[in-house]
Amino acid sequence: MMNNNYKIFGLIVSLMRNDNPPEISKDFSENVMQKILLNKKPEDTKYNNFLKVAASVFFAVITAYSLISFERSETNVVSVDIIEDKTDNSELIKRVKDDSACIKIENSIEEKNDSCK
């Protein structure tokens, strides 16, 4: 006979409800548990945990190093660009200012000449 309390109680309830097949195999639940354990991922061992920690530390170091080196190279490029831009801009401004002043002066001279005529 069945020796498990849950099996017995399940049997009693199913028979009370007339909810039972004519027969069931004795090792059904053992087969189910075997199938579940086969489908389950292998359990973590200490070695696996150590490997996971080591791998995460390795990737953290690699990421940090690449971020730092990328940041350095980016800073250099930016600093050079800014300097060049500044010089270019200031020269352009000077030229524009100078040009406008010349044009105004030229215009006023022309106007004076016209009025004399």
Binding site: M1, M2, N4, N5, Y6, K7, I8, F9, G10, L11, I12, V13, S14, L15, M16, R17, N18, D19, N20, P21, P22, E23, I24, S25, K26, D27, F28, S29, N31, V32, M33, K35, I36, L37, N39, K40
Partner: protein, 192 residues
């Protein structure tokens, strides 16, 4: 004399499974195997197929246990999985049969009882007559409680409202009723 037998609530067992104790799931399989196999048997009409599909049902339920909402009974949830799995099984079997020609093997599949060694099976129909006297032996309040919870599928809250007793009392009386039933069943099988 009844021994103190511990039968945990389904919710408690599910919590154990979710916290990593896979072995606890066997208690749920043990408890519901007959009813789930019978549900599958109604669809497959063959006990071997029913057991195969029921195995798949329990496996699916285990894999999706984290999706179980604790606001319904475990049996209602796994019953729905069983019905869906049976329908899928029937659909795939019909597709398979369309491709195959009718053979002797197909005809044998219609036989309802297993062809395997009968020693490997529990013959349940023989036990039906022995169960009713066990329930009648229980005190009236306990047998009513067992019927409300296990046959009419009421929740603790529903029973508490209906009988106007606290939920804690419902739980403790159900626990006592289960203990008595299991002990009586054990003494019955010891006598034989």
């Amino acid at each position: 004399m009844t021994r103190n037998i511990i039968i945990k609530d389904d919710d408690e067992i599910i919590q154990e499974c979710l916290s990593g104790n896979t072995g606890a799931y066997k208690n749920l399989v043990d408890k519901y195997q007959i009813r789930i196999i019978n549900t599958c048997y109604k669809y497959t009409k063959n006990i071997n197929d029913a057991e195969d599909v029921a195995q798949e049902v329990f496996l699916k339920a285990f894999q999706n246990l984290s999706n179980f909402k604790f606001d319904s009974k475990f049996y209602s949830w796994i019953y729905r999985i069983a019905v869906n799995t049976c329908l899928n099984y029937i659909n795939s079997r019909e597709k398979r049969n369309e491709k195959e020609t009718i053979s002797e093997e197909n005809c044998l599949n219609e036989v309802n009882v297993s062809n395997d060694n009968p020693g490997e099976y529990y013959q349940l129909n023989e036990l039906v007559d022995k169960i009713q006297p066990l329930i009648e032996k229980l005190p009236e309040d306990l047998s009513n409680l067992i019927k409300l919870y296990e046959i009419k599928d009421l929740t603790y809250e529903d029973i508490s409202k209906r009988l106007d007793i606290p939920i804690g009392t419902v739980r403790s009386r159900l626990h006592r009723a289960r203990n008595m039933l299991i002990s009586e069943f054990r003494s019955l099988s010891d006598d034989e």
